[in-house]
């Protein structure tokens, strides 16, 4: 038994922050004093804003989590904590943070605790117990009832009750059925599914096998985006391990139930996450949604009844079976049960993966868990649901996180992207950004989605360029309303949401852009101007040196000036200036001058 167990957050977030350096340092140390410490990687520990994270578990069970462990800190931790027995309090990520206390971990329970590449660790935390239970103690119908009782709803976006969906596929006639795990995760800024796959791949696999048993499928696909190599690697490892242990493949645990699973790497089109497009893509066709009905449960992959679930949905399943559907249903609100994982990002102090019980308010997530806005700037909006979602203003911060409450704001729960925006965000530009994403990713099939979103995008571009008119707002609304109800898949049906919510809650910003040629956040280049504040300018010439276009003029120790015709509004001068002598103004450009 080693004296110290070192756990290093080895999700993509940790690796990106330099976890590998820390790992190497600790591993080297372990070599040297092998008896004393063991080092293991784990998935995302959660507090991504403080990566690389390193946990030190002492033999008596005491745990300490260090944040921002770079090479220097790693060395110090070895010297002072491991050799010196001193806990370096200042670097600790304190467990009594609301960051931790307000969270409830079901899906992420193992992430950051176990080594995802080691199946024994998963089994140690009751892994595959649920599978065993359903195979030997439950009929598929009983299993489906239990899932229904849990109130679990799909975490892939639409929030469809999972038990019901399984029931449909179960009742569909067919010798051959398929179970698909949707790990396409295409929303920009979302990485919940990736974290789960990287941190606890066996849980997803177990959930998938249970689902296959429920509907009667003997073959399955995990559709993962190719940009997730680590997740793919860990899934492959997990599949091999499970097969080797007889937990996957023919006659699982000698139960007579067989299930084989393949990994299909997605080429990266966002729309391929839509279930019918995903199936087309697996079939080798262009990823394009098709009409439903027939639903996949009736006619799915290669025409066979198919069930498709999101990663997070499936990761909930083993836990539900272990605790029982009714116990699971104790967490959450009346219509939204359990927890939801969010990727908290943007202008937030403590970003990262958070898992909260349904019903937690946005304010709690953002201010208690997330610690509020970076640099203590003013909160502006929180964007939920990515390009399909919407922007929620400060006045609605007490909205509980559940499917229906979020929908009523005009946003959606979505797959769990949560981007916090401060006062320096231009809401028109945000709407433009998301719409340009959906427009580019539209599969091109439907008239309204293909052309309608393009026309909306052009209007938004016009407005951010200062060329918009008030009639453009009407046109935006007219288009948005129709696109939502006249598109085949949810991409088109939700694409107008960012525009509609910003129009609803931030209309005056649109009007500022249009009527006053003003961008209050000073983000829209066409509407801002860089100027020297004469009182502050010391004539240090720093700005002259950084300006790439030579638009700043001025002799040393003389007040400088910016030539508005040459200025490309890159902002380098403002960054360079030590004296706050560069100001950005807006609303002072005459309409005719904007080009």
């Amino acid at each position: 038994m080693p004296e110290y167990e070192i756990i290093i957050g080895f999700g993509s977030c940790g690796i990106a922050a330099g976890a590998r350096r820390a790992f190497d340092i600790f591993a080297e140390e372990a070599e040297k004093s092998s008896a004393k410490i063991s080092v293991k990687p784990t998935g995302c520990i959660g507090a991504c804003h403080r990566e690389p994270l390193v946990g030190v578990r002492e033999s008596d069970g005491k745990q300490y989590l260090y944040g921002e462990v770079d090479e220097k800190r790693a060395g110090e931790i070895i010297n002072r904590h491991i050799h010196g027995g001193e806990v370096i309090r200042d670097w600790l990520v304190k467990p009594d943070y609301p960051y931790f206390t307000k969270q409830k971990k079901i899906v992420l329970a193992n992430s950051g605790i176990i080594d995802p590449e080691n199946m024994d660790e998963y089994i140690k935390v009751k892994g595959y117990k649920a599978l065993k239970k359903v195979l030997f103690e439950m009929t598929p119908e009983e299993l489906i009832e239990d899932i229904k009782a849990s109130g679990l709803r799909g975490r892939g976006g639409a929030g469809f009750p999972t038990g019901l969906k399984w029931g449909f596929a179960r009742n569909s006639m067919g010798d051959k059925k398929y179970m698909i795990c949707n790990a396409d995760e295409g929303d920009p800024g979302a990485f919940m599914d990736r974290s789960v796959l990287e941190g606890d791949p066996h849980a997803v696999l177990e959930g998938m096998i249970i689902g296959a048993y429920a509907i009667g499928a003997d073959e399955g696909f995990i559709y993962v985006r190719a940009e997730y190599p680590l997740a793919i690697k860990r899934l492959n490892i997990a599949i091999a391990q499970a097969k080797a242990k007889g937990l996957l493949g023919d006659s699982i645990m000698n139960s007579g139930f067989s299930f084989n699973v393949h990994i299909k790497e997605g080429a990266g089109a966002f729309v391929c996450g839509e279930e019918t497009a995903l199936m087309a893509s697996i079939e080798g066709k262009r990823g394009m949604p098709r009409l439903r009905p027939p639903y996949p449960a009736v006619k799915g992959l290669w025409g066979a009844p198919t069930n498709i679930n999101n990663v997070e949905t499936l990761a909930n399943v083993p836990a539900i079976i272990r605790m029982g559907g009714h116990v699971y249903a104790e967490t959450g609100t009346e219509k939204s049960k359990g927890t939801k994982v969010f990727a908290l990002a943007g202008k937030i102090k403590r970003g990262g993966m958070v898992e909260v019980p349904m019903g937690t308010t946005l304010r709690e997530v953002i201010f208690d868990i997330g610690g509020g806005i970076q640099g203590d700037k003013k909160f502006r909006a929180v964007q939920l649901g990515g390009p399909s979602g919407g922007c929620i203003p400060g006045s609605l911060l007490d909205t509980p996180v559940d499917y229906d409450s979020l929908t009523s704001t005009g946003a959606i729960m979505g797959s769990g992207g949560m981007v916090v925006m401060d006062e320096s965000t231009c809401m028109v530009d945000v709407a433009r950004f998301f719409l340009s994403f959906t427009q580019n990713e539209s599969c091109g099939k439907c008239t309204f989605c293909r052309i309608g979103t393009k026309r909306m995008l052009e209007i938004l571009e016009r407005i951010t360029m200062g060329h918009g008119g008030m009639e453009d707002i009407d046109k935006l609304e007219e288009l948005a309303v129709k696109i939502k109800v006249a598109s085949l898949c949810a991409l088109g049906q939700t694409a107008p949401n960012p525009v509609l919510t910003t129009l609803k809650y931030f209309r005056e910003e649109y009007e500022d852009h249009i009527l006053r040629k003003k961008c209050p956040a000073k983000k829209c280049k066409a509407l801002i101007r860089f100027k020297v504040v004469p009182e502050n300018c010391t004539g240090c010439t720093l700005c002259v040196r950084v300006c790439p276009t030579g638009s700043v003029h001025g002799e040393r120790r003389q007040i400088h000036e910016i030539d508005p015709d040459l200025c490309i509004k890159c902002g380098l001068c403002e960054e360079a200036c030590h004296f706050d002598a560069i100001e950005i103004t807006t609303g002072d450009i005459k309409a005719g001058v904007i080009s």
Binding site: R290, N440, G452, T453, R455, Q493
Partner: protein
Amino acid sequence: MSKKQVSIDFDGRKLIVPEGKTILDVAEEQGIKIPTLCHDSRLEPYGSCWVCIVEVEGARGFVPSCATKVRGGMVIYSGNENVKSARKMALELILSNHYGDCKPPCTLTCPSNIDIQGYVGLIADRKFAEALKLIKKDNPFPSVCGRVCPRPCEDACRRNLVDEPVAIDWLKRYTADLDLFSGKSYDPPLTPKTGRRAAIIGGGPAGLSAAYYLVQAGIDVTVFEGMEKAGGMLRYGIPDYRMPRDVLDLEINTILRLGIELKTNMRLGRDMELSDLKKDYDAVILAIGAWKSRNLRVAGENHRDVLSGIEFLRDITMGKDVRIGKRVAVIGGGNTAIDAARTSLRLGAAEVSIFYRRTRNEMPAHHTEIDDAIAEGIDIRYLVAPVAVEADGDSLKSIELVKMELGERDASGRRRPVPVEGSNFKAPVDTVISAIGQYADSLPLEVMEELLDKRGYLKGDEYTGATAVEGVFAAGDLLTGPSIAIRAIAGGKYAARSVLQYLKGKTPEHQTEFLSKKDDLLPVVSDDFKDENRIPGEKMKTLSPEERKHSFKEIELGFTEEQAVREAGRCLECGCQDLYECKLKEYARDYNAVAARFLGEVKKHPVDISHPFIAREPSKCILCARCIRICLEVQGIGALGYMYRGFSSLVVPSFDVPFGEEQTCISCGQCVSACPVGALTEKIQLGVKNGISIGKTVPLKERVEEGYCSRCSVGCSVEYRYHGPLLTRITDRNEAVNYGKMCKKGRFEQSFLNIPVSEKPIDANGNSIEFSLSCRLKSTGIPVKE
């Protein structure tokens, strides 16, 4: 197996229908038209265009009727305002990136909308008789117009962006003269007599045109002409060197001989009264023209040597002796001014000048006429206006003029000329001809004062010719003010149509159609034609200025056949091949869609004509994927596919090669038959020489005859399509045995059917072979004994 019946509520109607039918099927049975673009009965529902949408109670949004099956208790709304406005928006969005011209700019500019692309194409294909018929559908005066028309169509011709316009008018003249002088010129078919009677007052282009179309519709027509002969301004306003009398007489005769009664020397108000005519006839068309000259309103203009331009021209054409001096000053800038000047020259004037108050750019006369006048030695002075005419006893001495400059724009958009103070000067003259404008003599109309507006002009609807008096219609210069012949001819055509509507008890209305126009979305520019070969226009043989200056012989001598065919070959074929079948065009009209309502980026793609039988125009593609699906799902080929995403999405031959280089295409033409718009069309092979298609693909109205293909023993159901005697296409028919499928042979390899029998057959190498009965029979597969 009998299907379960379910009851549904369809637009408030309770229906019992078999379960499993689509809403679209049910609508069809109920006689309700639901537009569809991506739906094809040969294919599975797809759901991409969203124009077929309906509302279903309880559904999340609209549902595509083509793909939604009825269920018991379903409540469906197929035509409420919500549905209509969404369909309209779908169409408008599609149209906003549907870059194509339904009709070519030439046709749209022509006041009578002659199918120019059609007849030019037929000339290129050497189908002259068909070309003539096409022209006469809209213009009974092609030989006349082929000479005198100022050709607004040629100004609009897209070929201007390449080199110079197609000689549209001269091609018309070529075809028309060919017919007119053939000795058996064309008579349109007449419908049986209706027993209704129409009186037309005025035998000019408007009146005769109206008569031509009415008589064809079985109306008894009487034309009352005030002058000695019919023809109006064509006869009495245009000099012989431009409009030879024999041509005019012959062409008027082609109209009159259809059974029109002409009464000459009958003048309204003198020889008959409008109120009587109205009693005696079922309808009256007023087409008395605009024969009164505007006064110069300068001192001394009442001198006998100050002539009115149109009166002068009329007297000359009537053979009267007109006294004309050595030095002639013509005032004005229109065709009458130019004609008067050139006529003066031919009468022996030594010095002829034209004084015009604006610049050449603003001159209403046609630029070729201006050039010709200058070539003949006429001096044109711009930016001058008369102030006074000075006489010296019986003869004129001089005309006093003032210089002008262009000021503000007036209502017509032209800059108004204003006198430059103190710039007066004098020019010596013997004769002054004033040609500054004409107006209609409304005196004989005053008996029915409702006909006239406050200023004494006739008021009537510009498009229908309907006046305030029921049953009385107007056309030509009387209605429009002095204008060009083709406008009067068009007016006659429209008035005739209005009369027919009126006689059927309908309110005359101007039929509108939806027209997609490239320029509405993104201007067509020279760069669009950068790969087009530069081909100078054919030059027509003309008399030299020296030869013509002193004679009234016709100057322009016409094209030869080869010239005409070559010139017609220059046409860029701007209009759409799918004109008569395009679904998008039809629905856009049904829903009053406006193409430019959602103006934005427009994707321009080059036309792909690399395929031997199929033209691909991706700029018109609406991405319904019918071609892709039919190629893959019905034919099992998969030669077409999607490329890119979002707004850039595109349908392309596989590997994005030119269609002609796509390796798997079997040329079955299914994609063409599936395409609801003009993005995939077939190359119609009328111009065939030695078995090789030459010339143009012409969008033509077709007559459909159902039949069976005889190229092999399968006997596929097909449609034979004809335009007149020409076989244009063979297309699929969704019936046994092929159910819409076809092969290359049956579909495209039929051009030989249009080869006149007299043309020599060719062997596989293209060499002509001996023409004998046995070889002809052999070619049909019938065994012959040598």
